[in-house]
Symmetry: C2
Subunit: 487 residues, 2 copies
């Protein structure tokens, strides 16, 4: 059998071919089956002689490696700037995303935004690889989900680390306060947002309910990152906020289910909602019970492991076990990641595990936060565009309610020990990725008007960027005698 013209030539790259050869082709399968692994299926339908397969592989590797390069150069440059301004680094990462994303230089574009990468970037990769710019854009879009998987790994690692650094007794001790903060921080923004939109802006009730629901979110990722960096995670305030953010996440899943059920106009099904509430209760109880009991068993196993890298791998196995379990009972994998950290927070090896997880967080959580920024379309902020004005007015209202509602949650709980309630309120402020999830759901369902969609996006952007700045300002002025010393 002669070689077809589509054979990799002039120069097949071993590295790019690893994907094709790991694993080797099955002897029984078509001799071309392995092509399917390296090249997206649609390419096989293209003229096989037009672009050499080698060019495709080189382009794919350049895209995958280059994407990391763009992310890290931008994120770390801005993060360094933030450190010098005494602001949290996450702000730099979010801004970096905005700067290189759809609102900026188009160096990292989420495929579903419909935007194209910057032409000079497409030309560069095309020139280096021999592919066409259009092909580079297609390959980029095809491999984007892989980057999202890596970014989720970063989120899980961050929440795992947050759990590891949490003080279980403290977290349980502030359980009631955290619950009060979570419930108040959900009810107030939801009620104020929904009623205000309906009465003041005459938004139909279903839309108002949806927008209100979007305001209940708290980004546990951003909160954990800021508190962790400022050394406030193990303070009483930090533990109240983390506990409340976790509960907020659980409440958010229930709210989403209810709102989508209402909005879909179908008969309201109570059974799945109840099942979800039970699952959440079982999850919290199970996580707390395991946190008190499972660490010795883990240590016993770990002490018997001898293969190199045993600490990080053992921790990672617990992490993915918990992610899998949380997802399997209908909650989020991210909640499982926090639970895994909490469970191992009493291990004798906690510090060793923390050391091995930190590089993962530094690398991949950065990707997560940059990706959040890339999709934020700041063009809706331009007040000179008349089309934006309606959205801006609604946005100003939503932002005010979003800030007031969460700040009020900081004053909602009873505590004998004095705590800095402003810190708690600000900690609950950022909507971040969770707010974007609500927005994405509404947009995807097509129920939001452009003005309302822009307003929700601006509310999310505003709280997300305000929270780290305000927290930094507040935390740099300790009230002696009142503040719990951070560790």
């Amino acid at each position: 059998m002669l070689l077809p013209v589509s054979l990799p030539f002039p120069l097949p790259s071993l590295a790019a071919l690893v994907a094709a050869a790991v694993p080797p082709p099955d002897l029984m399968a078509s001799p071309f089956a392995s092509l399917l692994m390296v090249w997206p299926a649609w390419l096989l339908q293209a003229d096989p002689g037009s672009i050499s397969n080698h060019s495709l592989e080189v382009a794919e590797t350049l895209i995958q490696v280059g994407r990391f390069l763009v992310i890290f150069l931008a994120a770390r440059t801005l993060a360094e700037g933030m450190v010098r301004l005494q602001l949290p680094t996450i702000l730099g990462e979010l801004l970096a995303g905005v700067l290189i994303g759809v609102s900026g230089f188009h160096l990292l574009i989420p495929p579903d935004s419909g935007a194209r990468l910057s032409q000079w970037l497409l030309d560069l990769v095309a020139g280096l690889s021999g592919a066409t710019p259009d092909l580079v854009q297609s390959l980029y879009n095809e491999s984007f989900p892989g980057l999202q998987q890596v970014s989720l790994l970063g989120l899980y690692a961050l929440l795992f680390l947050t759990g590891l650094e949490s003080e279980l007794d403290e977290l349980v001790a502030v359980g009631l306060q955290a619950t009060t903060v979570a419930v108040t921080g959900v009810v107030l923004p939801f009620a104020l947002g929904t009623i205000g939109l309906h009465l003041l802006f005459h938004v139909p009730l279903v839309l108002a309910v949806f927008a209100g629901a979007a305001m209940t979110a708290t980004s546990i990722g951003i909160t954990a990152s800021v508190f962790g960096e400022l050394g406030w995670l193990r303070s009483r305030e930090g533990q109240i906020v983390i506990g409340a953010a976790v509960l907020d996440d659980i409440l958010g899943i229930v709210i989403l289910a209810v709102v989508v059920s209402l909005a879909s106009g179908n008969s309201f099904a109570i059974a799945p909602i109840l099942r979800l509430v039970v699952a959440a209760a079982v999850f919290v109880a199970g996580a707390l019970w395991l946190s008190r009991t499972a660490a010795p068993a883990f240590d016993w196993v770990l002490d018997r492991l001898k293969a190199p890298g045993e600490v990080v791998v053992a921790g990672f196995v617990v992490l993915i076990l918990c992610c899998f379990s949380a997802q399997a009972i209908g909650l989020e994998a991210a909640l499982g990641a926090f639970a895994a950290g909490l469970i191992l927070s009493r291990s004798r090896h906690t510090e060793a595990i923390q050391e091995t997880v930190k590089p993962l967080v530094a690398l991949f959580a950065t990707v997560f936060f940059v990706l959040i920024g890339t999709g934020m379309d700041l063009s809706v902020l331009n007040p000179l565009d008349p089309a934006n004005r309606e959205g801006l007015v609604v946005a100003a209202f939503l932002l005010a309610v979003a800030v007031v509602g969460k700040l009020a949650a900081g004053w909602s709980y009873f505590s004998i020990v004095p705590t800095r309630r402003l810190v708690v309120g600000l900690g609950m402020l950022p909507r971040g990725e969770v707010g974007l999830i609500f927005l994405g759901l509404g947009s995807q369902a097509g129920i939001l008007t452009p003005a309302l969609e822009a307003a929700i996006l601006l509310m999310v952007i505003g709280t997300t960027f305000l929270a780290p700045i305000l927290l930094r300002l507040v935390l740099s002025t300790p009230e002696s005698g009142v503040v719990e010393q951070p560790l």
Copy 2:
């Protein structure tokens, strides 16, 4: 606009939706555009009411998380067994891949093998998510490239670490020996294999040349892993082997280009081959020059960085810069990873970087080696199947030549200082993923007969598993006075 029936319901999972909402949908785009990110395009053509989107998201997360679980539980269990048998852990990882892959329990199947996942596993994920088993298999196949990206990250991290742990002066000092070993280890197996196949087994010359080329490979990944674990990386033998393996990799790229050119029957184009040789020379010279000069600049920058995680991120940026550069000039990204390590091996922060890279290696290089194992189809080993016999005879010949050719390379160089030549020869032995790449290329081109394909696969499997075992046996019996003490 009413909600379509395909809306996530009864229970949208926030975690699974992160992929949909990071970034948020562009306001100008179709309201359904964001669907494209979470769900493979072909699903959109399916009956939208049949399976809820929520089920798809849960299934996707369970697959992605569960895959890691299967990999790590299998790999680490067997690795622990290997440690107790005083064998390198990589053997356990390769075996774990075989055990859970196409030759074993079908828990981790490379999509291009054409095999299906184990039915109980498909039923389990389907039951937990509400999707059908067929859908689970499809989602699994769709998201497999993401796992391969992660495994490549592991390979790069391993080679980066190998470079970091290398002794530059020693590597340069043994440069001539390494070159001799590399060239001998390429020429001998190629010549013996090609001539033997053609004269003894009457294999057509083009096929014989191809099979001979497949025998020239050396898996730098496996060699680096074994030498690193046994503490022999910085010995003179270790540095000769690593240097020779890198050169072997570069020679391999040239050989591939030549062989594919010959096999394709087209007019033999010398220009791209020459360009490649020049690129390789520039690359080696550039890497060596930067290794001597770039570390102070890197340290200067790193000393000025203040954002947390600066060490791992700075190292990672150099890593991806080098991967990008190597790929851009037509070499492999993996070679760039080794060069990056070498360049930073003289930094004042080398040890700190090593500590942050080790967790990445422990996690993701494991994935890389397990994936190699999953694709190895051991059914060709069964001598009871008459169809296998021809392949087995050829395989026995190829294996013998593959072992003898590389072992002889250990005796090919001149050295004033006594070195353990058997260690060098054995270090060059494993074909691993590089051998599989050659095999994949031949299979994909359809030029190999089933018997020859099986024989090459067995040669790769044999050398890959023999090398760690034999190295361990040889290295446990030091010849005092002759051996360079490992650090």
